[in-house]
Symmetry: C2
Subunit: 437 residues, 2 copies
């Protein structure tokens, strides 16, 4: 008789439904690769009587009692798909305390309570896997933890939020404003009813905190990661970017400064001929630069029912393999640990290139004033475009002066802009977008 591994699912939303579907659809392949079946024996939901679900599930499997589910003797793997940090944290810690291995797709939980969760798992001698927490089905956690185990990551540029990428890609194609595209994305189900976490960079910051831990062996305070949302990008910025040979992408960026770590979340101009520039729609990609391998990139679906479930079930298979190799829960020195907390580079100390869009009143000498102030702050200019389109000379409408700088310290740029934005010739605050790559 084939040995079976008992699984408890906590949560039966999109991903939970995907897990059940995938375990059925790919049953033969999974059996072939694991030599065993993964059997869902209980599913904890808020309301067992809910009429409409993503998949049909035997009513007898449903319960509302997390504590009882994670303690059952016939459960070896607890799969946390509740989301959020409160109930999920309690449930994961309860599962670990009951000696169960855990699979979670919960980036917020790991970004905020990862150290606590991994320490508890190590004490209890259980595995915690979380491939689905970053970039959905793209196996970036395994790539960094195992594939690049012998390498040192120097920098990382990634698109980790599909909603933001979808909106900016659509804006680039249609030049329609942010709010329009967001509303449409909500109607199509590509964006949440409350899109704040996605478009403001909060979700991306959670993922970046996990990536920084894996890449640099350190922990960062997720709340201290500087972030800007994509709502600051106007269609006109995409037009100027294109003119200069760039596109605008919602990036997370991390860099090893040996004694410190740089981490930031914001839309950025990137060269149009960079591989990341072609990552369109809701797709995710992580572009890594490491000492030995040099550049490498990992691309795929960062969200969605089946892609995310794929990562969750692959984690279950890995735990199953560990169980059969009698290695499940074995001490793993490569678990993320707060061994070597390093300070984060202050945003004022970040050195990068900038796209600056000034909205000024069209008066003689304006360009000279801007350049003089930038120069006085040590900021040197790579390219300038002044909007000279005929018919634009309308006193109510600002004229755009767009500047691409060479590398500059962010503190100097902010100081210069504070002076410039206070000038009477300036019609509206400067739009600042960092350049990457």
């Amino acid at each position: 008789m084939t040995r079976k591994i008992g699984v408890a699912l906590l949560g039966l939303g999109n991903v939970g439904g995907g897990v059940i579907k995938l375990l059925e659809d790919n049953a033969a392949a999974i059996l072939g690769r694991l030599g065993s079946r993964l059997e869902v024996r209980t599913v904890v939901v808020r309301d067992p009587d809910k009429a409409k679900r993503v998949v049909d599930v035997d009513r007898a499997l449903l319960s509302t009692d997390v504590d009882a589910a994670v303690r059952r003797d016939d459960i070896e793997i607890v799969c946390e798909l509740i989301g959020g940090t409160d109930q999920a944290r309690t449930a994961v810690l309860a599962a670990i305390a009951a000696g169960k291995h855990v699979v979670t797709a919960n980036k917020a939980l790991l970004a905020e309570h990862g150290a606590e969760v991994f320490a508890a798992a190590e004490r209890a001698g259980v595995d915690v896997y979380y491939e689905a927490a970053v970039c959905g089905g793209v196996p970036i956690i395994r790539v960094l933890r195992e594939g690049l185990a012998s390498d040192r990551v120097e920098s990382l540029h990634a698109i980790v939020n599909g909603t933001s990428n979808y909106i900016l890609t659509t804006m680039a194609e249609t030049r329609r404003p942010f709010a329009d595209i967001l509303r449409e994305a909500q109607d199509l189900g590509y964006a949440e009813a409350d899109p704040t976490l996605d478009v403001s960079g909060g979700d991306a910051a959670h993922k970046l905190a996990i990536l920084v831990g894996l890449c640099f062996g350190t922990t960062v305070d997720v709340n201290a990661i500087p972030r800007e949302g994509i709502d600051m990008v106007d269609p006109i910025d995409l037009s100027y970017a294109e003119k200069f040979g760039y596109v605008i992408k919602p990036l997370v960026i991390a860099r090893d400064h040996i004694t410190a770590v740089e981490a930031r979340v914001h839309p950025a101009l990137i060269p149009a001929n960079w591989l990341l520039a072609d990552v369109a729609g809701a797709k995710n990609a992580v572009y890594v630069h490491s000492y030995a391998l040099g550049p490498s990139m990992y691309y795929g679906a960062g969200a969605g029912m089946l892609p995310t479930a794929m990562a969750v079930v692959s984690d279950m298979i890995e735990i199953g393999r560990n169980i059969f190799a009698r290695a499940a829960g074995a001490p793993r020195p490569h678990r993320p640990r707060p061994v070597e907390a390093r300070p984060m580079v202050a945003i004022a100390d970040v050195v990068t290139r900038y796209y600056l869009r000034f909205g000024v009143h069209d008066q003689p000498g304006v360009l000279g004033q801007l350049m003089t102030i930038l120069g006085a702050h040590g900021i040197s200019i790579a390219q300038v475009v002044q909007d000279g389109a005929p018919g634009r000379r309308d006193d109510d409408q600002p004229v755009w002066v767009v500047v691409l700088t060479h590398e500059a310290r962010e503190g100097a740029v902010r100081d210069a802009l504070a002076v410039i934005d206070a000038l009477p010739i300036v019609a509206q605050p400067c739009r600042v977008i960092r350049i990457a790559g």
Copy 2:
């Protein structure tokens, strides 16, 4: 005292030198992640007195005796970097018989003797890892074996030979002929003195055989994989491809037909807006389409001293982790096994689109004759260009008629071309390049 793991290196060429360099350069990172040092205790070379090496190695470490090296009590991991299939096979089987774990970068060995090697390893209870055998530093083996463990790969398109990609990329940029670029690549050290294995598709076929095993859980006879080299591509084909919105890349292609497996190696036209089209120079990339994840891509350096060494050392780290988890050599149902040998789709039965370049004498009615014969064989045409450049009406020079077909069976295409190539109006045999993506 830190536990150390003893390593024997067989071979000290480019990759062996890279392994020694990487173990030194990244010593702290590796210690942090493995909790142990990997210590090279013996290096087997052909000539210990060779004056010039990639790295400096203590003369006392060098020996010429493979058998003695793999049997030493202080060796836990044997790293085979000899290359080829004869001596390498003997050495790897000897290491396994001596109870040592093995890391190899040898695609030819695994493509031709993989079943024998893995069976021996399973009997002996040792691990065999081979990440560097395909795409150098890109961790595609781990991605397929673990990251996509719960998924079913439907098709795979990949650039796995850096030399071929370098030559076609340079040809696309400069429109210089194949032989020129190859000679330059040899001078620069990008191509071997004997480039046959690289440019004829032999190296790519070895890698494809390994990928097919991982993706579809079956073995294929590497010698039965249909292959065409990149020397069949002329600069003019790149010009026509560009005109139609395509580029030409050196691809390996595999597809699951459930009862059979399709596998082939050849240059192919691919749409210029496909992510694979931007994989330039000597870089490698694997584009996978799987049931749950959909499309995903893995990109990076497929060759080179440090990238390849990175994959080798990451494999050593994984074996080290297995050793500490007391899981090294544990039965792994996911090891490639010839469990389910499936036939290969005959090349005549492949269905794809085609680029056909006919060299014809410029006479009235030529186009009609070509189209009639193609139509009679059930081949329908998507686009046609007849070279009508002024000044081309030179009887010695053929006129080019370039056709892009809709999907057609290769057998029908070959039948039609046999008829066409025999026509008196035809000046030279038709150039056939398959279209992918």
